[in-house]
């Protein structure tokens, strides 16, 4: 599974860790996160992420 990086603030989404505070379980692939999820650090939308 690949990491994705937020192009606005630099936060890295690591599928192994997920984003449990926002309901994304560890082990969730970036592609499987719902489209209304936003960057937990800056609030950027999912389409503002790039493969690391």
């Amino acid at each position: 599974m690949e990491n994705y990086v937020c192009t606005v603030c630099g936060y890295i989404y690591d599928p192994a860790e997920g984003d449990p505070d926002n309901g994304i379980e560890p082990g969730t692939k970036f592609e499987d996160i719902s489209d209304d999820w936003t960057c937990p650090v800056c609030g950027a939308s999912k389409d503002q992420f790039e493969k690391e």
């Binding site: 192009t7 606005v8 603030c9 209304d36 800056c42 609030g43 950027a44 939308s45």
Partner: protein, 400 residues
């Protein structure tokens, strides 16, 4: 159909708009914003000053985003007046809008201390994109800048200027950097690192007067020293924007008082972001404003969400250098501790009665997770006191 009005389009206001639209596809949403730019990531303004990012790169929701969601965004047009009994807002242009739910998300402004001469050209504080544009334009013309306030945000802004090639003279009231995050030795290490980047420091000093004909030319300090510089940047904290809240008689202390749903003392009026006081706390930080915007937006649209406060992160970047500290940092260096110092790095682990009590990692990251685990479990690490002073220490030993 419900009418929503949001005053302010920063982290809280823009996030609330998104949440309202997710929950209510029909309602009318109107936003007033003092700024001329749509929702952007304020913490990266120093990078704009440095000349390494442009506005589109740090824009979080552009004008198309609002238009495609039928959100009526009034940029550069603030709400002038609220009539909360009639549930109406009058804009600066004199138009009147009715509302069922109103969100005050007016944020905060930079505090400028009462130093004579702040009205001269070339004196700034960094808060908005317009501020950043003005500072960047002035930075083109001068070689020396004076930064008043050496806290985290000030140093970040100063770092933007040093990366543009300016010399930055920092005037700080405390006699050391970052007293809350760093012990004395660590603060001194950080200062050395910053000096290599183009900063110089005037610690334990106070600004007395900004001098110059029409534009700033120099700054006089209380102790008699005079600093040359064609740009003065204040970084002396922020103050919540409370005018509209006070105008309609909301309960206000340090900030606008809200309950856990982020409703103010008046039914139908909500507040989120840097202007609010929740459980006695005024946060003034980005992640808190995002979380509050989500809660307020959800509740305004008829949902049920509670704000439970925001944890302050203990990990941050100072001018590109990682700094993580937690627990007892032993600011004066009086407790047993394992200190390791290297080129570009500083690490300190503090023990109280043999147990892991706190740590500082500057420019180093290996071992933070293990130290945090040992801190949470109050692990007895006394047998590793000497070993932990070695750069190569195997931190997995702490969690076995």
């Amino acid at each position: 159909m419900k009418n929503y009005i949001i005053i302010g389009n920063g982290a809280a206001g823009a996030t609330a708009a998104r949440k309202i639209r997710e929950a209510d596809s029909e309602g009318s949403i109107t936003i007033f914003s003092a700024e001329g730019d749509p929702f952007y990531y304020r913490p990266r303004l120093p990078d704009f000053i440095a000349g390494i990012v442009e506005l589109p790169k740090i824009t979080l929701q552009n004008s198309d985003w609002y238009a495609s969601r039928q959100i009526d965004l009034h940029l550069g047009e603030m709400a002038a007046e609220i009539d909360s009994s009639a549930r109406e807002v009058r804009s600066e242009k004199g138009e009147v809008f009715g509302y069922d739910a109103l969100l005050l998300a007016t944020g905060a402004r930079s505090f400028i201390p009462p130093v004579p001469g702040t009205d001269k050209d070339g004196v700034y504080a960094l808060r908005t994109f317009d501020d950043a544009r003005s500072i960047a334009a002035q930075a083109e013309k001068v070689e020396n800048a004076i930064l008043i306030g050496g806290g985290l945000l000030g140093l970040e802004a100063g770092y933007g200027l040093t990366r543009r090639g300016l010399k930055v003279k920092v005037v700080e009231f405390f006699d050391r950097l970052l007293p809350r995050q760093m012990d004395l030795a660590g603060a001194f290490k950080l200062q050395k690192m910053l000096e290599e980047m183009g900063f110089s420091f005037y610690l334990g000093a106070r600004a007395k007067e900004i001098i110059g004909e029409k534009a700033v030319e120099r700054l006089a300090l209380e102790d008699g020293r005079v600093l040359e510089g064609g740009l003065v940047l204040f970084s002396a904290g922020i103050r919540p924007n409370l005018d509209l809240a006070q105008q309609i008689g909301l309960e206000v202390d340090k900030g606008v008082k809200v309950d856990n749903r982020l409703m103010t003392s008046q039914e139908g009026v909500w507040a989120a972001g840097d202007l609010i006081e929740h459980n006695g706390r005024v946060y003034g930080i980005w992640p808190a404003a995002l979380a509050q915007g989500e809660v307020a937006g959800t509740n305004m649209a008829g949902g049920e969400a509670l704000y439970q406060g925001t944890l302050m992160s203990n990990s941050l970047k100072v001018v590109g250098v990682n700094l993580t500290s937690a627990g007892e940092i032993d600011p004066e260096g009086k407790l047993p501790s394992a200190v390791f110092e290297a080129e570009g790095g500083y690490r300190k682990i503090v023990l109280v009665e043999g147990r892991m009590a706190g740590y500082i990692f500057l420019g180093l990251t290996r071992g933070i997770k293990e130290c945090q685990a040992a801190l949470e479990q109050e692990t007895d690490v006394s047998s590793f006191l000497e070993e932990m002073k070695e750069g190569e220490f195997d931190f997995s030993k702490l969690i076995q």
